[in-house]
Amino acid sequence: MNTEEITPQIQKQLNFSALLLKKHSNEVDLESWFGFNPMNEWHIKSAKRLLKYYGIHSGLHLRSALFEYETGMRVSAPFEKLAASLRLDTTSSFETKYNALNNVTQEHQYTLAWKYRFSLKDQKLKGYELAKYVFLMRLGGILNYMEFEEISLRLSDVEALLKNTFDSWGAFHRNVCIGDEFINGRGEQDLSSYPGILTLWECYQRMHINYPHWFKEW
């Protein structure tokens, strides 16, 4: 199944999801189509579990999810809604709003939206969304929800979109990390209780060591 050749071009496009893939499992092979090995029963199991977690049971669900990430419905829209509502606030009026919250997730999202309310006005969380887009596509490919041709066609469009939005790997990856934090909460490192689970930032650092040639040329 893994017959299609990965050209440097495609490898680069696949690397949009490298960070997220690495976060979900340290075992993945970033230099393969799917990250997970379709010959390995345990890898297939974890891929299935992940897909189930994301509510993807078929090609239809996968494509709907991709559509929602591509159009920003999933992440950018709620972020932008929140950020827009904070743009006119002063520090003190923000604090009043913040103190009125009584739920950790919301507090966290408010903090992030406040922090990036201006800097991410254009990019929003597109980087994170498209990283997720590529990530889900790779997962779906394992179960044959999508064929190579479609994946590579979509990959090249993702690349074009990202190239229009970001100007470097650094900017892109920062966006991925912020997006991940916005959705999943602060990834605080707590190796004592979850050994082996890395924060996205940490994955990012390690990846630079393991793949020094990647992430240089945008």
Partner: protein, 849 residues
Amino acid sequence: MNNASASALFNDRILPKLDLSDLETAEQQALLQVLQLMNAEDSPSYLELKENLGNQAITPDFSAALSQQIYQHPEIYADEAQGFDWVASWLPLLKNGFFPDEQHTEKLLEFLYFGLAFLQSEKISEERQAQVFEVLSVLIHSQSEASLPVARFLLHRAFDLRDYQTSHFLVQQCLSFKLLTETYFAKDENEVLQEFPFRINAIFVEHFYTGSWELLLESIHQVLPVSIPGKPGAYEVLKPWLSEELASFYAANEDWAIHAHQRLVERVLFTEDESFEYLNLHTAAGKYPLITAFAEKEWDESDVLLFSLKDKNIPLAQTEAGFYKLQDWLLANKGTNFNREAFDNYGKAVFAVNSARELPVKSISLWFEMCNAAQKNLRQKAYFNEVFSHLLTDWQTKKMPVMSKDGNAFQVTGMYVLTHVLGELTSLKDGLPAYQASGLADPLNQFLLLCLYDFRSNLKEQISEERNAVLYDYLISIAYSARETKPYLRETGVQLCVEILTTVYKHTQTFAQVNEIASLKNLHSSVVAQCEDFAKFHYVNDETDLTPQIIQNWYLFLNEYYYSLGKEFLWVDAVLKSQGARLAAYFNAEEKGSFPDEILYRLYKFLKMCSKGSDSYSELGSIGSAIATHISHVLHDLKPEKLSKNVVKILYDYINGPEINAFHQMQLENEILPFYAYYFQEEKTTKTLSEEEDAALEEERIDDDVEEEETAKEPAAIAFDSETPLSKEVLEQVIVGLSNYQNSGIASSVYQTFLAKNKAELKALLEEDTALKMNMYQVLYLLIIDLEAAPGSAYEAYGNLGRSLFVTLVKGSSMALSYTQGLEMMAASGAYPEKLTQALQHVVTDLNA
């Protein structure tokens, strides 16, 4: 020695008492034989008799009086050893038909009664013992008055458990000497000895139990459980007596039948014998009273045990009630009875059937109870799934099983199962999500699918809105789970799911459902067509009215259609090919704001992407063509004011720009012009055109066919003579002239000579200006496919010019391929007359050459 002692006894004790005086000759004759038999030939009596009778041939008569003289010697019985010696010595007499009379039989039985202990003791030799029982056997089986009393005595003693040892001893003797078998003799009402069989019936009861069936049964029930394991006992004695009359008595007296159950269970437990014949007693009418009696009682383990020992051939109608009792028993105590030994060792036999036909229909609920998702006992699940796998033998033909109901064959239907069997057990709403988790691999889900499938046409009406959603989730989830099952399961399972879904949700208003059902096509190749038809029915159906939602979906899924390279959402293709005019009509009829703009912009975007990607993915070429066709259909009918100026500009620029594929351009150009004219040329015309032509432009909007003609009037005629140098302006004139050849009044030869002369310049000019080149190609192309310029028609010369020039210019250029494809399509379409088709093919050949 025994014989000697017996004859000694006869000689010493009886001979002296013989009184010959009252005997008649016939009796004397009989006595003579007696003496001979007893070896008393040298006794004085014998000699005397011999003398009296001489050699007369007289029939001997063993009369009652003589019998008295021979047998009636109670004093001998005073000593037990002597008594038995004496009885044993009778054998020769009895064999000769000289039986003791009734009176003496009583004495004999009295002696036996008290002598039984001695008879079993070691004080008597085995040989003598055997002789005694031989005598008794002859007495019973001979036509004598002694027959019935002796038989009755033995029967009562053998069945009398108060003296177990004697009873056991007698039972063994009965068996080894076949004492209580076959027939016995008794006097009928006329005092005549008749032969009767040892079989339980009214006469037997009369003879042995003073006519009381109750006494008989009490006695039988008492001895049933008694014997030594592995050895024959009283049951073997009475087994040959079992009869249809006994069964009839049980049938009429259920209490006794239930009492018999008790005894038979004890028998199984104590003697390890299954009493098959007794349990399966049946009446002449074929009723099995001991089996049917199971229906009427509270069950416990012992009933499970006995019921499982029933004859397999008993009609199902009679075992059904018992089966349901067993089912109740299994379901009691939260199903823990399954783990009891009684079920393991015995109950399972009841479920060892060869087909669904042998299982009563309501046992389905047992299956659902025992194997549902909440059950954690895997051994139990595996067992019942195996038992009920018979219900799924017709899985591949999608048929419900035939089961048994009141013993008759009963075709199970989905309706019956869902309303009668499961209705009480578990409602669809609460039950289904629980079953969902185990997927299609679970036989219960396979059966549920069959039921739902069978019931599918009425399912919609039967379920509420809330359950509707549950059912939908269930079916979709089962269908997906089929991916992980064996091929035979998968194929039929997916077919069933799709069949049910497309029936029940045929008119669903939820497009998410439509999409989800349609996407099941990827689960198995056999459902592809059905899924696609379903989607088409919802999306491309001229019968239903268009709604904004449908239209939105059309173009949303264009995205997926594009990315999947036309492999998913195939109905989008049908939309593109057939729905353009309909969409235009819809927009024309109603005010939809910017909706038409959005759609055309989206179409434009995808057309652009297709053209760009068609080099790497050939599928995108045909998708692009379909989109272009669609745009042309929409634009052809759409009123110009429905599109905004911006979108018209974008489309116009694109169509006239360098990026577009020539074939698409050809298709679209004429369609976009009226829109362009509506917004832009109006301004232009006020400056350059006369009032008159302005009016003509007004008409255009209504009839865009006229448009081509009108614009063609614009240029002033230029003389194409040898003096004229070829410039851009001149070439534009040529193009306009060629596109308007019918009205220009210029002969084709004018162009031909002019262009032939300036061939080199022409090529150079075209290379410089791409837009001009495209226009040139396009006008020639239109000429080639123009019916009016076809071979044999009025403007044939123009056609020839177009063809030769087209080949010269286009051949070898980057556009050659797409034009070739376009022409091939045209030629293959069959829309053109034969001559033109041939001409087109000729051009293709020339281009490819």
